[in-house]
């Protein structure tokens, strides 16, 4: 089994879905980018599916392309893409019946030099948790846990990352979870948008986005992959993700029936989730 075999299976399936009218659009990848990068593409014609590709350079999260167009949409989904679909359904942004998930077992993507992407190294989900069709790869062993990374949460580290940022918002645009019609950064009243993009204002943006993603990050690494400046802000989001996981035993995008941690309240919720600090209240 290999990318090529998976690719042929996906292509045959996409052709059939489009030809049968089961879906009107397939969001997937085609070849043609520089440095071997695969490009997101929206297929609407069965004949066009010949261009479809699936390889180790299918980086972007495709969830930004799911809305729009008439009829149902199929997505060629890496496990993280599938998790994002599930999360969007949980947050009532998509309806399950409108989306056909073609899930692929995935061993991770690589950068232009062929090195595994950091998010893929840490990934612990190599089979989509929810799918309509599964394109398996028996050569990919089931993962029990991703590589553990030590997390330095010092202010110095935060500042070092922030200083690389040029505040272009490509991480926000790449993130499945950043779907607000008007981002808090773009609001006029109150004016969150920094008057002058200095270090503090960049911190405000990244800290704000991190908190908005509490319990919602699907760990796809799209933010990091999109960043041309080499900023790693994912470490901060990972910290919050782990915190939510410990507190509420919740992981975004894994279960269609689970209520998102930030959308539910129970009287017994631990106080540290509200007030922070070391106190527990129980």
């Amino acid at each position: 089994m290999s990318f090529e075999k998976q690719r042929d299976e996906v292509a045959a399936l996409c052709k059939k879905l489009l030809a049968d009218g089961a879906v009107s659009r397939v969001v997937g990848f085609r070849e043609g980018g520089v440095e071997g990068m695969s490009l997101p593409y929206i297929f609407t014609d069965p004949a066009g599916v010949d261009m479809l590709t699936w390889n180790s350079r299918c980086l972007p999260n495709l969830n930004g392309y799911l809305t729009g167009g008439e009829g149902n949409t199929a997505i060629v989904a890496k496990p993280c893409d599938a998790r994002a679909v599930v999360a969007l359904i949980s947050e009532k942004q998509l309806r399950r019946e409108d989306i056909h998930i073609i899930g692929l077992v995935c061993d991770g993507m690589v950068d232009a030099n062929g090195d595994p992407l950091p998010a893929c190294v840490e990934c612990s989900v190599n089979c989509p948790p929810v799918y309509d069709d599964l394109i398996d790869d028996p050569d990919v062993a089931e993962k029990t846990g991703g590589e553990q990374v030590s997390n330095d949460t010092s202010l110095e580290r935060f500042e070092a990352e922030i200083d690389k940022c040029i505040l272009c918002f490509s991480c926000r645009q790449a993130c499945y979870g950043c779907y607000c019609q008007t981002c808090f950064m773009d609001r006029g009243s109150p004016g969150w948008q920094p008057t002058v993009p200095g270090r503090g204002d960049k911190m405000l943006y990244h800290a704000g986005r991190t908190m908005h993603l509490a319990g919602r990050c699907v760990e796809c690494g799209a933010c990091e992959n999109a960043c041309a400046s080499g900023v790693d802000i994912r470490y901060l989001i990972r910290e919050v993700t782990n915190f939510v996981g410990e507190l509420y035993d919740y992981r975004a995008g894994m279960d269609l029936d689970a209520r998102p941690a930030m959308l539910s309240y129970a009287a017994g919720d631990r106080e540290v989730g509200f007030l922070g600090g070391d106190g527990d209240g129980h």
Binding site: V34, L39, Y41, A174, P197
Partner: protein, 325 residues
């Protein structure tokens, strides 16, 4: 005059005594121009993810302070010595100089940096993935829009000066004092696959030339391309007030952002992402050529390499060219 790269490092060390030295540095994750010591500066053929434009047009620049009825100008910048601008960057600076300093209004903030900086260009040895300078009449190895130009042979540099400022700087350092004046050299004639839009078509004609929505449907609208572009030069004014003192800043902006054209009435003439992408492309390939006689894309390829979803401006320009008469 041919010199070794060690001699060039010596020259940079000499320059760094009196000026802030800027050059390409490998930060481990990216290559970028920043304040650097002569030994940190890269002298290989790799290319940075951003251009040198921030040393002429910073992302944030304080223009003046207004306090108790008095306007105070500041930040008269000390000049930098910038090493390693690629020919695409230098040609982009030519575009920026035209935009900022010709016509009815000149931008003093750009102008004073331009006058204060010393710019050392370095030619490329090879094209990188996504580079297309040859398709927009830019010579990969040489540009005369700098003070000193170095043509890279791999082992060393062929050095020429192209301005009085460049001549003086070289003259002050004994090993480079005999460098000769460079010739202005015309770029190779346009190739068959040159990217240019026909002046015969009206602006409105381009608006419907292709299905812009289809061609740009995977663009995520992040605006990264305009920030890392060497020629994108749009900015916005921002004021910040503190205890009755107001600072006015000039900050990078991008036509890719929806707020760029949002009117106070709530109307937005460029409501769709496709309309915004079209503006960026036509600005580079039609409006600046019309107004200044220069193409505002120098084929550096940074947007092509940097785009998170692989949008490729060359492909969209080609689509437009295919339908133009």
């Amino acid at each position: 005059m041919a010199i070794s790269k060690d001699v060039m490092r010596g020259f940079l060390a000499h320059l760094s005594a009196g000026r802030t030295l800027i050059g390409p540095v490998d930060t481990g994750k990216v290559i970028e121009y920043r304040k650097a010591s002569p030994n940190e500066i890269l002298m290989d053929d790799r290319v940075s993810y951003k251009s040198i434009k921030e040393f002429y047009f910073p992302q944030v620049e304080r223009m003046f302070t207004f306090s108790e009825g008095e306007v105070q100008d500041h930040d008269n910048p000390a000049g930098c010595a910038i090493f390693g601008g690629k020919p695409c960057d230098l040609e982009a600076l030519r575009v920026m100089k035209a935009v900022f300093t010709t016509g009815k209004f000149a931008d003093p903030f750009f102008e004073r940096r331009f006058d204060a900086n010393l710019l050392i260009g370095v030619g490329c040895i090879a094209k990188k993935p996504g580079c297309f300078c040859d398709q927009v009449e830019v010579d990969m190895a040489f540009s005369d829009f700098c003070d000193i130009m170095l043509e890279d042979s791999g082992e060393g540099y062929n050095v020429e000066y192209l301005s009085e400022k460049g001549r003086q700087a070289l003259n002050e350092y004994p090993p480079t004092k005999d460098v000769a004046c460079g010739n202005t050299r015309k770029a190779d004639p346009p190739q068959a696959d040159a990217l240019a839009l026909s002046p015969a078509i009206t602006e409105a004609g381009f608006f419907e030339a292709i299905d812009w929505a289809k061609s740009t449907e995977t663009c995520q609208g992040c605006g990264l391309c305009s920030f890392i572009c060497p020629t994108c030069h749009c900015f916005d004014f921002r004021d910040s007030s503190e205890n009755g003192t107001v600072h006015r800043y000039k900050c990078w902006d991008s036509c890719i952002y929806p707020k760029f054209t949002l009117h106070a009435s709530g109307h937005n003439p460029r409501e769709s992402r496709a309309a915004r992408y079209r503006q960026r492309l036509l600005h580079k390939y039609r409006y600046v050529p019309d107004n200044f006689g220069l193409t505002a894309c120098t084929g550096c390829g940074r947007c092509v390499r940097g785009c998170p979803v692989g949008m490729d401006i060359r492909q969209v320009v080609k689509q437009v060219m295919e339908v133009q008469p």
